[in-house]
Amino acid sequence: MHAAHSSEAHLAHHFPGVKAQFEAGKLGMWIFLATEILLFGGLFCAYAVYRANHPEIFIYAHRYLDNLLGGINTAVLIFSSFTMALAVRAAQLGRQKALQRLLSATIACGFVFLGIKYVEYEHKWKEGLLWGKRFKPVHEEKAAPREVPPPKALTWVNPEERSTLAPPADPPAGLAVRPAEAHGEHIVPQNVQLFFSVYFVMTGLHGIHVVAGMIVLSWILLRARLGEFSAAYFTPVDLAGLYWHLVDLIWIYLFPLLYLIH
């Protein structure tokens, strides 16, 4: 009786019924999520173009990201998505206490995620691994153009096989083996700051979405405490959950694309 009453109480007059209102709310949320995907799509496009043009920068620079911290954050976000899905389920079943606890757990996961992100950002700030012109690495001169020393004469000849013949003339400069290129790993590519620009914009925008999701979920938690939701009316919980899952969805792509470059 009470459920039926509260479901009618939330029905806006321009909807023919509760089902139509629920479906319209969901469709509106999905259209909003589509615009979010297009927003991040621009950044993924920038990532794709930079990486296609400069794979060496991405291979070099991704080592400065901590895979362990990134992995833990992935697990935290996936767990928060799980608690959010359970929260929607609790709301659908009218379990008030469980709904409040699961929403709190989801918000707490958001705090853990942001805390770990803070540790990562702070480390990069101290190391000077920042975007664009702010890129000033502390420990190594990574952005400096690589110096090519003049080719040494004949140091590459095996000393065991000493020959009495006169050493050949130095190869022309164009053919000289540059020491940096001889050992592939030690090449420091130019414009490494490109990677950190992409990294900070993508994770930064994602972080802003995490904060926004936490604010929305806090509002939903407040309304849940006031007893606004029931088995008959849980649409706001469901829609906030959709947003939170999208944030998780984007991180699922950001983690391998930024941290796990091979």
């Binding site: 969901k26 995907i37 496009c45 043009n53 697990a75 996936i78 799980f82 079943l93 899952h245 969805l249």
Partner: protein
């Protein structure tokens, strides 16, 4: 209660737990896959696993499997437009970038 039972689908607890477990296992696989050198296939594999994980989240956590199909059209439509955007931008940069500044784009095979 029967009135809203007709359009609200409650995902069973067991399904949600299994989806979560699958997501965690796939995350470990994604990390482990970077320890093996597969050349350019590594990127493809990482994206394939990420897409599979994203599908699990969308289908079960976001209820798309039980939802009105029009929501899926909106969602997949946005993904198609993102793909179109990325593919055209890549084709364009592949066609012009190596000639704009010689040696500037070593990643492009020209």
């Amino acid at each position: 209660m029967a009135e809203h039972e007709s359009f609200v689908h409650v995902v069973p607890f067991g399904v949600l737990v299994r989806v979560w477990a699958a997501l965690m296992v796939l995350t470990v696989i994604t990390v482990a896959a970077t320890w093996v050198d597969l050349g350019s296939f590594n990127l493809f594999l990482a994206l394939a696993i990420a897409t599979f994980k994203a599908s699990l989240v969308v289908l079960y956590f976001m209820h798309m499997r039980y939802d009105h199909p029009f929501n899926a059209i909106v969602f997949i439509g946005s993904l198609l437009f993102v793909m179109l955007f990325v593919v055209l931008a890549l084709l364009d940069t592949q066609a012009y970038q190596p000639e704009l500044i010689p040696g500037y784009a070593p990643g492009m095979g020209k």
